[in-house]
Symmetry: C2
Subunit: 134 residues, 2 copies
DNA sequence: CCAACTGTATTACTGTTATAATACAGTAGG
DNA sequence: CCTACTGTATTATAACAGTAATACAGTTGG
């Protein structure tokens, strides 16, 4: 599991970690029942305190996305497909709504937003294709 | 000037204020040379400490969007049209890029993003029409 | 000059975050 | 049983960011 943390983003580490894992779970990159890397392991990888990771996992457990079994490890919870789908839509809509709000305020026409979206899609899709080849 | 601050958003007040004024300047709702409400006045409206507002204005001054004259007040700086246009595009692209990144990660097709964008445009445009009637 | 308004620097308080060290709690396997 | 893993709670410390209170500094107009 590749995680990146930015110490200068202003966002606390534990939330960055939680956000990235949350997305991977929603995207289905982590299957139900799958075991996650241990607290100490991930803390070692990211060169961060174990309690910081535990705090991140705590957020996800509160959302019902994973289960913690003391002495055993961390496991992806059963997320019903409809809930996962809803979670994805909701997250996307939240972000997209900000973009549309800005466009309306700036008097940028919808057609231009569509065009920009298209360009960004090309950019991101090609980046993913590149990553998959590594 | 209508400003709203959310004490529970996690975002610091001074950045919320700066962001909202920045957008109004870029949108052209505040004309060049126009005087802004004073630090104490705005602080009073928002029930916030004057220094918090001063800090927000400081960000905007650093960006060249306004000028501060001690003893006199705050004034919208001359912003060249091309810079303003670039500022708007850049801000929109930043936000939209996050949405596209999420869509790609969640394997949500571009067509669906377009459809959602359309729906959001309708929602926001009607909200603005409603506000203008008040 | 001085009153009343501007913005601002200084200082201090507070909450959050991150870290560290330690000890505890539960499970699996030899 | 005991070792070696799991995750967790506690406590203390440090650093930092945000906010606030106060006092200071500059301008204007009577």
């Amino acid at each position: 599991m590749l995680l990146q943390i930015d110490h200068h983003s202003g966002q606390p580490i534990y939330r960055q970690v939680a956000e990235q894992i949350r997305r991977q779970i929603l995207a289905g990159h982590l299957a139900e029942g799958e075991q996650l890397v241990s607290v100490r392991e991930l803390a070692g990888q990211l060169k961060v305190n174990p309690m910081t990771i535990s705090k991140a996992y705590g957020l996800l457990e509160a959302e019902g996305l994973l289960e913690r079994r003391r002495g055993v490890g961390l496991f992806i919870a059963r997320v019903r497909p409809d809930r996962r789908s809803a979670g994805k839509s909701q997250l996307l809509e939240q972000i997209l709504a900000k973009a549309v709000a800005a466009a309306v305020q700036f008097d940028i026409p919808e057609t231009e937003v569509h065009a920009l979206t298209e360009r960004l899609f090309e950019r991101y899709s090609s980046r993913i294709r590149r990553d998959e080849h590594e």
